[in-house]
Symmetry: C2
Subunit: 762 residues, 2 copies
């Protein structure tokens, strides 16, 4: 569908702080070093499950240079969590995983703080450890949260759609498989960090590296029992987020230390704490059962998803529900049952991670689709086309999909890798290497409505008709701000250079939920666009007075407001803006967007949980070394329906970065636990992909659609970029060597094992 | 008139930063010392009038440590000024007073910058000097601005009201006098200072100590030809303003140096520069002629005011017009002619100073009123009462006065000093000292409308129903921010602690014209109140939904929104606020106020130039030493009609500070020029009053009226506090010893001379 040409929406612009980021001159929280700074440390449990008998901080308090020592009894409201407030800021009665914080303190140096933490004595009574989710929900399993009404089963999500039995009865072929995904650490290069300081009026300023400054503000104010207006959160540059910089782990500690000492206090996590004491990706056990007709029509599907939530709920509900709602893939499934179960275990806390459950189900669903296609002796591309969702179809929640570029994405990705005959690898030129091609697809939701999802913005037209936008949307490296500037410029009818963003300070901009859930372009963009539209109204009203014309007859073009069809009857935008200011009719306005939704029916999972949906298809070509199991991705074509691409360069960058992270999820990454203790909490034993590890050739492909709910038709990209990568590669491996990888990651050993070349579990 | 009790408007609260200011811990611009800071210096003319033949900066540029040297040719738009753009940022062709800047530079230290300035060579051709305003406007006088169409006469202001000849014909007595006022330096304890820096995107941040950050932003952007959105002005604490921190004298220089060097650059004035190169108060020659009937009714008045504007126009127009419009005092004058003439001379630039021309005319008018009363053998209090303006009367511009507490102020001030029989001093207990009492009154305008006078504000209700106000109103020590918080709290119905102010950064808050012209409480307060009222609308709409009631049936009280008459049908404000945020109906709103006006008719001075008027009466008791001429003010009662007093403690503080400044104007201060060169440019030879110099007893008295245009009826105080002090004291001196002081200041020598004890001019 050809889209009308607009400017600057649709053009590629570099981000304003790009030069600083590239040059390393951007200021991060660790660069803030005010006079009198104190340095924090957190003493953590170091054991997976135990009752706390006694905490003795006296030796630490007496150490020279120690300014303040906190236990859970110092925290006014010692519980937090986005759904269940099941997580203590500092533990007082028991610890539930190795990273649980018990004592926080600050001192004159990092070394003094670490030494003081070593001097704290905590007596524990160890408790039985639960580390397997299936075991966790069996009756009689040791409980993590004794008061939780459903024991170690945190919660359960259901979809009930159509008649499952009738659907399976109609099928010519029923395929059942189990897939297991594993943990993934966000591995942001900047670890968690914050600095808090108190001004002369007792007002807190908390400098954060966070995706969600307003949630930090809310949580700090809540757990410290302070009015929100007494907490200001300032966002410095962020060295990565990916869902991990989301929860108030260090900020309340730094804030309370600052309040108690009157001095600035910094806390930061070590790399080991990143692995053992910050959130990680949920591992999922995924049972897929699908019925199809001989000609490839899906008649029924049943999913059971079991999520290892770790010690606390965190964003487990969001993950369980997204996995349930998206788990059946971008396909028409008339009869669908999903049960998505979230458990407590004594493993690391699983929380928000880019992809939010859908990375895992996309892996399972798309490998499962590949298996079915092969059992049907059908081209996996044709099989997907046969069942592909289209605009006007219902998503699995019954919600109508208003824009859908799925068919175009399938075509574009496969065309790019010269998709042809499937079935058996081909020997590559140099001996025992085989090549294969794989395909995977995805549906992902944008703009959740189950919880409030507001974004607010202010727009101010300055005296010279430049535009200042106040937004709370955090740019954690994804380029959000240039996108919002483009939307603002487009709405007012000025060029990008005329738009300036004010952000990074909760005092400045209205509430925004955060850079989470792929929502910024869509939700934040709508808020900005609405604010600018209202501010523009001032200019049009003033221009109508000045020109003596009716407001509805005016248009903005070429820096002027003119009567449509009479371009000489005009005033320049700066003339009008200055006149507005001089007349005290200041062209400032607020805009807000919170996507409308219908809460899901708890028994059926039906309703309207999202504002819109994006689709994608990745096609991979791999070369597998038959002797070593090593897989090289020769090429990856990643086609994404993003609605309108506000900034194509930025979209491509997101697709490239996401695909590399997807490669890591599928091929390299897993935190290995032994009795709840992480065995590889460092970037030596836990590998993340570098530029050399990823696909030798990567081709991001933008599929544009026009989403009616989005700003200028935009939906977004963000998280989805990583979801189809793993199954596309794994399906290519299967194509090459016939090995089906049902547990992650697909290390060389796992590939050899799947080929039957070696035995045993990894 | 009893006013309805409101809370917190009407209660005394300390300002939020009071503790910091008192403890000296507030941060001023000079406390900002970023890495890489450069230090500026300005080479000034040092001569009153000369043509520039050559500027040689080569030796300065070669000095080690010099980073950047600027001449006027480096300034993109080398002219500024609020009315006439007659003032160069750096002079290129000629200099017109001793402080005229010629070269600006910056270097690695203050010392290096000063040394570099000394190395600059400028060749001049001296021109004839004009230092007397009467001479300046005589034909043939040497011209300062050759292109100015009316020569050294900058402009002329007129009032023509009634029939002057008929009025004088009706009079039984006609009194003519001439009064001369002299210059006054603002003498802020913090001298002019600013620091500019450039971020990685080429955006300027200018840290200022200014009453008018938005005018600094506008001027820096204009003279440097930058879009307004590329200039951010940040206000640190200000150590005094009084009208002097108003114009862009150093900021464009610091900004251009920062742009050229890429480093932060600070400029600050020495105390000597404060006297010789920043603005000062206009000296006025004032001819008063008044006709009265035998029973004390004024029938006609004629004023000729001649203002010494110095080398550039600056705020001379505002001063000339305010002096004209207020010069006939708070009295009914049916037949009035005023001619107010502003001249160029080679003296220091006269500009905005607290009182803005009315300080000078109040001195003249009120001494003149005293003379007339004595000639009529009438009590000066009765004479004033006889002619006093009342609500409903017209001001001298024909504009209707809607609130007027003048009669109450006269009563309150005189009652306080036990006003009794007048006529002749009484010998005090210890020998040759005589005591007397004097009275003076004043009218002053609030909310000018001749130029645009906008203030904007944003109000945001946070999730916990605390309120954040964004205002551009600068608090330069007068306590503006606590006033605005009180107005905001009152409007929403919350307590003061729930309101937080965001300010001091042009990126944060919408345009405000500045802390000038006694406008902040009235204009800024109206803007804040309007913004809060709009934001409150979100809460009322949401509460109406939640309670299922009609919005118009709701009221806010005790932290709740309830149905009127059914207080149990309610929600707490935090419940409603949180729901608004969650629903994406963010309670943020803008408010703006620009007082409506009618431009004055140039030939008659009639129209509506102000939004409202305040009135005051000061009564003084003095003791004069007959041998030395020393005058001690035993008591001063200062009664001010301020509309509603939003914060009585703050109003009293303003009255006390203003009265002391008025004491200085009348008794101590004058910059003495010799051929255009200031002879006493330091705080040793130019004395400002200390706490021990002022009235031994000072009694501020608040007279409340309800002004319909003001926020909760407020008008303001600010400037007016100083205006009646001088004539009250001088009339008391006359009462004590029969000496009429017609030239300022009333030094002991001047008093002795007026008593006939010594001869000659001072």
């Amino acid at each position: 569908m050809p889209l009308p040409s607009l400017h600057p929406v649709g053009a590629s612009f570099p981000r304003a702080n790009g030069a600083q980021l590239a040059a390393g001159s951007a200021a991060y929280v660790d660069d803030l070093r005010p006079a009198g700074l104190l340095f924090g440390a957190v003493l953590r449990a170091g054991r997976p499950h135990a009752r706390i008998l006694r905490i003795d901080t006296r030796r630490a308090e007496r150490l020279k240079g120690v300014a303040c020592v906190l236990t859970g009894h110092d925290i006014p409201v010692n519980a937090y969590g986005p759904l269940l407030q099941d997580q203590p800021v500092l533990c007082t009665d028991k610890v539930r995983y190795e990273g649980d914080p018990v004592v926080a303190l600050c001192a004159e140096s990092w070394a003094a703080a670490a030494e003081a933490a070593r001097l704290v004595r905590v007596e524990y009574e160890d408790l039985p450890v639960v580390s397997d989710p299936e075991e966790a929900i069996r009756p009689g399993s040791p409980l993590l949260h004794e008061a939780h009404p459903t024991g170690n089963l945190v919660l359960e999500w259901k979809i009930r759609r159509g008649n499952l039995d009738a659907g399976f009865a109609e099928a010519d072929l029923i395929v059942e498989e189990r897939y297991q995904s594993r943990t993934q650490e966000h591995a942001s290069i900047e670890t968690h960090i914050c600095m808090a300081e108190v001004d002369a009026n007792g007002r807190l300023a908390v400098h954060v590296s966070s995706q969600t400054p307003y949630q930090i503000r809310f949580n700090v104010s809540r757990v410290l029992k302070l009015p929100i207006a007494r907490v200001r959160v300032l966002s410095a540059s962020a060295g990565g987020g990916f869902g991990g910089k989301h929860e108030p782990m260090l900020e309340p500690l730094a804030a309370l230390c600052a309040l108690k000492t009157g001095r600035p206090v910094k806390f930061r996590m070590t790399r080991e704490e990143e692995f053992t004491a910050s959130t990680i990706r949920h591992s999922l056990a995924m049972d897929y059962k699908t019925g199809v007709t001989r000609d490839g029509r899906i008649t029924a599907r049943r999913l059971r998803l079991l999520l290892d939530g770790g010690a606390y709920c965190s964003y487990g509900e969001t993950t369980a529900s997204k996995a349930a709602l998206m788990g059946a893939g971008p396909y028409r499934v008339p009869n669908l049952h999903v049960d998505s179960l979230l458990t407590y275990t004594n493993n690391g806390i699983a929380g928000a991670v880019r992809g939010f459950g859908v990375t895992q189900t996309t892996y399972a669903c798309e490998c499962h689709m590949d298996t079915i296609a092969r059992r049907l002796e059908m081209d996996p591309l044709d099989f997907r086309r046969r069942n592909a969702m289209q605009a006007g179809d219902a998503a699995h929640s019954g919600d109508v999909i208003r824009s859908c570029g799925f068919a175009e994405a399938l075509d574009a990705a496969t065309r790019e890798v010269n998709w042809g005959a499937i079935g058996g690898g081909r020997t590559s030129p140099c001996g025992r290497k085989r090549r294969g091609r794989g395909l995977a697809a995805m549906i992902y939701p944008v703009g959740f409505t189950a919880a409030a999802n507001p974004s607010g913005a202010f727009a101010r037209v300055n005296e010279d008709a430049t535009l200042t936008i106040y937004t709370g949307c955090a740019d954690v490296g994804q380029g959000a701000h240039v996108i919002l500037r483009q939307i603002a410029a487009e709405e007012l009818g000025v060029d990008l250079e005329s738009v300036h963003i004010v952000t990074g300070d909760t005092d400045l901009a209205p509430l925004d939920l955060g850079s989470v859930a792929s929502r910024v372009t869509h939700i934040g963009g709508n808020a900005v666009r609405r604010a600018v539209a209202k501010a523009k109204g001032f200019l049009l009203r003033k221009a109508a007075q000045m020109i003596e014309a009716a407001e509805e007859d005016l248009e903005i073009a070429d820096g002027k407001i003119a009567v449509k069809g009479a371009p000489d009857r005009c005033r320049t935008l700066p003339e009008v803006a200055l006149k507005c200011h001089r007349d005290g009719e200041i062209p400032i306005a607020e805009g807000a967007y919170n996507p409308p939704g219908l809460h899901l029916d708890k028994t059926t999972g039906q309703g309207k949980p999202y504002d819109c949906y994006v689709f994608a298809a990745h096609a991979a070509e791999v070369e597998v070394d038959m002797d070593t199991g090593e897989c090289r991705v020769l090429q990856l074509a990643a086609a994404h329906d993003v609605g309108r691409a506000v900034n194509p360069m930025n979209v491509e960058g997101q697709i490239e970065g996401g695909s590399l992270q997807g490669y890591g999820f599928g091929m390299l990454e897993r935190i290995r636990y032994k009795g709840g203790i992480a065995q590889n909490p460092n970037l030596h034993d836990y590998l993340i992909p570098t530029a050399l590890d990823g696909p030798a050739r990567m081709k991001p492909i933008i599929v544009e659609t026009e989403e009616p709910t989005g700003p200028f038709g935009a939906k977004g990209v963000a998280e989805p970029a990583l979801n189809p990568t793993t199954p596309a590669i794994l399906n290519a491996i299967y194509d090459a060597v016939g090995a089906r990888i049902t547990d992650l990651p697909a290390t060389p050993e796992a590939v050899l094992r799947a080929m039957g070349m070696i035995n045993g579990r990894h």
